[in-house]
Assembly symmetry: C2
Homo-oligomer: 298 residues x 2
């Protein structure tokens, strides 16, 4: 896309009602709006799923962060609580083809050891250069691209072509970890400063290339014919998100003690290992490939 | 109490429906009963809260593990789901004054870094000698005594004067951690072997004393007049369960960045730091004192 300027930025927390890092950061920003005020654009803050937040659950009827496909948003027969919330949020921030905000930051956490992960809304070069900037100022920041990574996705962040999800972990649901809250807040400030600097005509320096983790496929747990778990993440793989997984490395450990190994020549880098909310999505982990991405094409 | 012999032992998992370690261990034991079979006593396995397990929540109406006071069990007007479950479990394992099982092992997990903690049902010397044995064979095992520690307590384990809760962590709710599952299983086997050896007249050696952590009081998070959190566990205290907390050490970090310090002369050892389920109980941590307990009085 052609880039002119960022006029409005939205920060969303509590898209999942039991991920407290984003919820308490948004509450803090609403109490102290000067923290996120920048002179060149307007700020919106939003708690995505108030009923799920009150219930301290990921969702009430279904995962809100899968309710933002264009098709579902325009289907008037979908009326679950989250489907209604998605339409209300899309009315406030969207629509996708002509959004009212230019950049969305959606704050999440994971029981997987995701560290500080940025999941950009699209592979728009503007978005990726921001990612390069963030990973340059903090080498702990990792950039991960979904199996599909564009505006047809059903995530809240897809309401705008620019923006990202911030995913921090490992952290349990329904708790606050001060370190993760501080790190997420620093990332938010870095993003806002970056956008403001571009608006001001003084863009921040961006590296000529960056490492990205490109999702390839998701792997389910071993299950029996009734769908019941037969194995767990192998102890050697637990919390090893972003570490290389090579032919012969253990992936799962069955309840009867047998190890199940990775058997492919290609070295992959698993992420979202043992995310609590993904058992029901039949995802034990997502395999990624580690790639260098050139950013100096502009 | 006078000790004769252990005739029946119960292993309970899923007293909290989102603590998967115990749930999957009980399922494993039910699939492979020979694992927990011992020649000198009978075994019972039980999933405490089936509806909460199906919903992957701690409870449906209220915390089942606070429904076992003698008063509540004998009150016919209490009819919530968990109050009904408590009465059904008490009918199967109890009553407290004449229980049908001699020893209850209740399997739990925590988002706090509890490591491998044993919470004995009572300070009966039989119970404490078992604890001494367990902490001797694995120095990672810690023995923690509740503020009150007797059969008047409302926990499931109080149905029998002998027994304990096993509390492992840190682990998020609704996930399996293979290492924690293996460690819990080893503890269960060690307990069963210990009980069986006593029944056989060949008791295991017990150390002459052991370290116990005696709970003193629980501390709430700083809150405003509406009850809303104003601070988090301080990053320097997070995951530091069982480490000494001394005068001047930080305990909390407010959302506006101020540290709140421990200001008492007495050195304490906090446990259950940042347990997710305890926010609603207004417990940020429980302070304990570290003591030596003599076991050779018999």
């Amino acid at each position: 896309m052609m880039f002119n300027s960022i006029r409005r930025v939205a920060i969303v927390g509590g898209t999942h009602g039991n991920e407290w890092t984003g919820i308490y950061l948004v509450k803090k920003f609403e109490q102290f709006p000067e923290l996120i005020a920048r002179s060149s654009f307007e700020m919106i803050t939003l708690l995505g799923n108030p009923k799920a937040i009150a219930a301290n659950r990921r969702y009430i009827d279904q995962d809100l962060n899968r309710c933002f496909s264009h098709e579902d948003l325009s289907n008037p027969t979908l009326t679950s609580y989250e489907e209604q919330r998605a339409k209300a949020i899309a009315a406030q921030l969207g629509p996708k083809e002509n959004p009212q905000v230019d950049f969305i930051i959606d704050l999440h956490s994971s029981t997987a050891n995701m560290g500080l992960t940025i999941l950009p809304s699209s592979t728009d070069l503007f978005n990726l250069r921001l990612c390069g900037y963030l990973s340059q100022i903090d080498p702990a920041v990792r950039i991960t691209l979904g199996i599909a990574c564009h505006q047809d996705m059903p995530m809240l962040r897809s309401l705008s072509p620019l923006g990202c999800t911030i995913e921090v972990g490992a952290i349990a649901q329904g708790v606050l970890d001060a370190r993760h809250l501080q790190q997420t807040e620093m990332l938010v400030h870095a993003i806002l400063d970056y956008l403001d600097a571009i608006n001001q005509g003084n863009p921040m320096p961006v590296p000529s290339s960056m490492t990205v983790y490109q999702a390839i496929e998701s792997i389910d747990y071993p299950r029996n014919s009734s769908g019941e778990l037969q194995a767990m993440i192998h102890p050697q793989l637990q919390f090893k998100d972003y570490a290389p997984l090579q032919d012969g490395d253990p992936m799962f450990l069955s309840f009867t003690g047998e190890s199940i190994f990775y058997r492919e020549e290609k070295v992959v880098y698993p992420v979202f290992i043992n995310e609590a909310a993904y058992y029901e999505k039949k995802i034990a982990m997502t395999l990624t490939s580690k790639q260098q991405f050139k950013l100096d094409a502009t």
